[in-house]
């Protein structure tokens, strides 16, 4: 039954994909969005139900043997290396399976409405299903290579979906950028995997955990392994310095942004570090690096989000920022808080992206928030659900984001790996998050309409998933209420406890809860003060023109990478092409051709076309052979 969870979406991919490839591409009938959407949603929805069944089955098992395993076949078997294609469900990835299939199903339903006018919905749904299948392989894989299979697969699907509208060169190159930047991270992942194999001799997670517990590996090697794996995570989960692909990835259709680039794929980095948390806890340096990178990314992306005008770009930078918070949590040893934030973030960010999709759909493909405004009258349902997402991400109690963000901030301060500096990074991020999200909310939904377009509310097939997500975004925090946390208890056997610093009292968590609520409220109030009157906002922008320009241009990171990496590599490639390729390799290859040609020109003289001459030659040859033989006999 476990194997069915990833196989069902794969089946959906095959049905839709084969229909597209063998019928529609040959001039046949295109599947309608309803039909193909029903197939795709049906498969992923069934996976969700299976996931629920297995989840409860898992819950009924005793805590120490809480794992369900299934082996499909032996995948790679060379020498001592033996990798079966096996899935193992345990407390950690059961949560991920539920998030992927649950949120995934809702996004599939939304897509039916969103892609209703697309030319090839079957292709789109096939890609979405393939993505889900790979994502499930990623989280269910029992060993690093199987995880890597899914890891690469989701990268591929991300590429295919970002450049889904490939006739637009910008969108096509955004897909390429995502793929290439991810490849850089994957190199780190691969090297880390090799190092794990040479050090510990196994790649299976359970076996690895045992080996690590029994032996005392040198801290040096473990640090290198952890840093290399983290490089992989910075690529996939869009952290500094490899985050540049995620904002560009918004070129894809909005459901893709919601599913892949907010709710699921980008959190696979968090999953990976939680999966091998037993390694990370051995290396204080790697944890420190992860916490600092996470915190700095969170703040850095939040500052950029303040000055963006594209609704999806704001959400994209917000995603980068929230992922940074998750890594901050993992870096201070609180993997549980990181995963908690993954779950709540999947709910409210999925909701906000789909809400943005609904807005874009209703505004006839307009994405500039300066041209929106007053949408609460035209899209009352979207307004309501978006408000839930907005309050959740700002961290207003009792919405889900409050609980998870509070736990991240509290552990950033209180954990034995944490400190005031890391907490300050997180708190500042929370302040900015509340500010830019309120800015987005005010500019889109409140005030007066600034567009001539007549916005309309989306159809039920798009609104109902939004409403379900809104309920989730409001209530998902209840699984992790401080001190009563079901989630913390559930994950404890896998990710362990958070060790508090000396001198930090458990009870001071309440102070942090109150202070983070005040921070969020302050951010919201500030944004209201600035953006409820656009003239104030204009005045502020004029006053801080330099800062605004830098932020609006995303700290010039893209330009910096362009100058530092892309241009030199292009120049070197150009040189190699024009000198090495053309003048050396081509010369050698072409000279083979010339020699062949000239020897052929010499030999062609023999071919006169006169059959009788050929016959004469045959005679001469025959006589010579016979003559030679006879000569030999009589000798």
């Amino acid at each position: 039954m476990l194997a069915l969870i990833p196989l069902l979406p794969l089946l959906g991919f095959l049905i839709n994909g084969l229909w597209y490839a063998s019928v529609q591409l040959r001039g046949g009938k295109a599947l309608s969005a309803q039909t193909s959407g029903l197939i795709a949603t049906g498969t992923i929805g069934t996976s969700f139900l299976l996931g629920l069944v297995l989840f409860f089955q898992l819950g009924s098992l005793p805590e120490e043997s809480r794992a369900i395993e299934t082996t499909l076949f032996s995948w790679i078997s060379v020498g001592t290396l033996n990798i079966p294609l096996a899935f193992r469900l345990d407390a950690l990835n059961a949560l991920f399976v539920l998030v992927i299939t649950g949120i995934g199903s809702l996004i599939h339903i939304f897509t039916i409405g969103y892609m209703a006018h697309d030319e090839a919905p079957a292709k789109f749904f096939a890609y979405l299903n393939l993505f889900c299948a790979f994502m499930l392989v990623l989280v269910l894989g029992s060993s690093l290579p199987v995880l890597f299979l899914g890891w690469e697969g989701v990268g591929l699907c991300s590429y295919l979906l970002i450049s889904y509208w490939y006739t637009d060169p910008d969108k096509a190159s955004a897909g390429k950028k995502a793929f290439i930047v991810n490849r850089i991270g994957d190199l780190g992942f691969l090297l880390g995997m090799f190092l794990i194999f040479t050090t510990f001799g196994t790649l299976d997670f359970a076996a690895l955990k045992e080996v690590v517990a029994q032996t005392t590996p040198s801290a040096h090697i473990v640090t290198i392994i952890c840093v290399l794996l983290f490089v992989g995570c910075t690529g996939k989960s869009a952290q500094l310095p490899l985050f540049v692909w995620l904002p560009d990835a918004m070129a894809g259709p909005t459901p893709v942004s919601a599913l892949i680039h907010a709710a699921t794929m980008v959190t696979s980095g968090i999953y990976l570090v939680s999966r091998v948390s037993f390694l990370y806890t051995l290396s204080h340096d790697a944890m420190m690096l992860m916490a600092v990178v996470g915190g700095v990314t969170a703040l850095f992306a939040a500052t950029i989000a303040v000055a963006q005008n594209d609704i999806k770009k704001v959400l994209a930078y917000s995603t980068v920022s929230q992922l940074g918070l998750m890594f901050l949590a993992c870096g201070v040893g609180s993997f549980g808080a990181g995963i908690f934030h993954v779950i709540t973030h999947a709910c409210f960010k999925g909701l906000m992206f789909l809400g943005a999709g609904s807005v874009i759909h209703g505004m006839h493909e307009e994405q500039d928030i300066m041209k929106m405004g007053g949408l609460r009258h035209h899209m009352p349902k979207t307004f309501l659900v978006f408000a839930a997402g907005w309050l959740a991400i700002c961290g207003i109690p009792p919405f889900s984001g409050f609980f998870s963000k509070d736990e991240v901030l509290w552990h950033a301060y209180s954990s034995s790996h944490g400190g005031t500096f890391l907490w300050a990074l997180g708190a500042l991020t929370a302040l900015l998050t509340a500010f830019y999200m309120t800015r987005l909310f005010v500019l889109v939904f409140l005030g007066h309409s600034r567009s001539k377009e007549h916005a309309h509310e989306s159809s039920a097939v798009m609104v109902v998933p939004l409403q379900i997500l809104a309920v989730l975004a409001t209530t998902a925090g209840l699984i992790g209420i401080p001190h009563l946390s079901w989630l913390g208890h559930w994950l404890m056997p896998i990710v362990g406890h958070v060790h508090l610093r000396e001198g930090v009292a458990e009870s001071s968590e309440w102070v942090f809860m109150i202070s983070s609520t005040i921070v969020a409220a302050g951010g919201i109030a500030a944004a209201f003060a600035v953006y409820s009157n656009l003239k104030t906002a204009e005045g502020l922008r004029a006053r801080f023109k330099t800062i605004h320009t830098v932020l609006a241009n995303k700290w010039y990171v893209d330009e910096f990478y362009e100058a530092l990496f892309v241009k030199p590599i292009a120049a070197i490639s150009d040189f190699l092409w024009k000198f090495f390729d053309v003048k050396i390799i081509d010369k050698i290859v072409l000279s083979f051709g010339t020699v062949t040609n000239q020897s052929g020109a010499l030999a062609r003289g023999i071919q006169t076309g006169s059959t009788q001459l050929y016959a004469f030659m045959m005679l001469v040859g025959f006589v010579s052979i016979v003559g030679y033989t006879l000569y030999g006999i009589f000798q």
């Binding site: 030999a603 062609r604 003289g605 023999i606 071919q607 006169t608 076309g609 006169s610 059959t611 009788q612 016959a615 004469f616 005679l619």
Partner: protein
């Protein structure tokens, strides 16, 4: 082998005489194939070569007490007949298209 080949009339012919005769006919045919340019003559020359071989078979099958030689002759006659039928067909086709039976006119397949 006997000293000679007895004919029905009682005359005994030395084998070398017959073999030389056959070889002469064979080489006449061969030269015809190589030298003549008229395709009909070439086909006739080929027949000449084949029949020179036939003659050798027949003349030697008696002294060697082996009927295989005579058997082979029948096969060769049949195959030669088929061969010339095909060849003549080709000659007719060639004559229709080129209005000529000269082999110098069919040297297009040169390198």
């Amino acid at each position: 082998m006997n000293a000679g080949i007895s004919m029905t009339s009682g005359i005994v012919v030395e084998p070398w005489i017959l073999l030389s005769f056959c070889a002469a006919i064979f080489f006449i045919g061969l030269m015809g194939v190589l030298i003549r340019r008229n395709i009909l003559i070439i086909i006739m020359s080929i027949e000449l070569m084949l029949n020179a071989v036939n003659l050798t078979f027949v003349s030697l099958s008696g002294p060697l007490q082996d009927m295989g030689g005579q058997m082979a002759v029948f096969f060769i006659i049949v195959v030669a007949g088929v061969g010339s039928a095909v060849g003549l067909g080709l000659v007719i086709a060639m004559f229709r298209t080129l209005r000529s039976v000269d082999t110098d006119d069919i040297q297009v397949l040169k390198g």
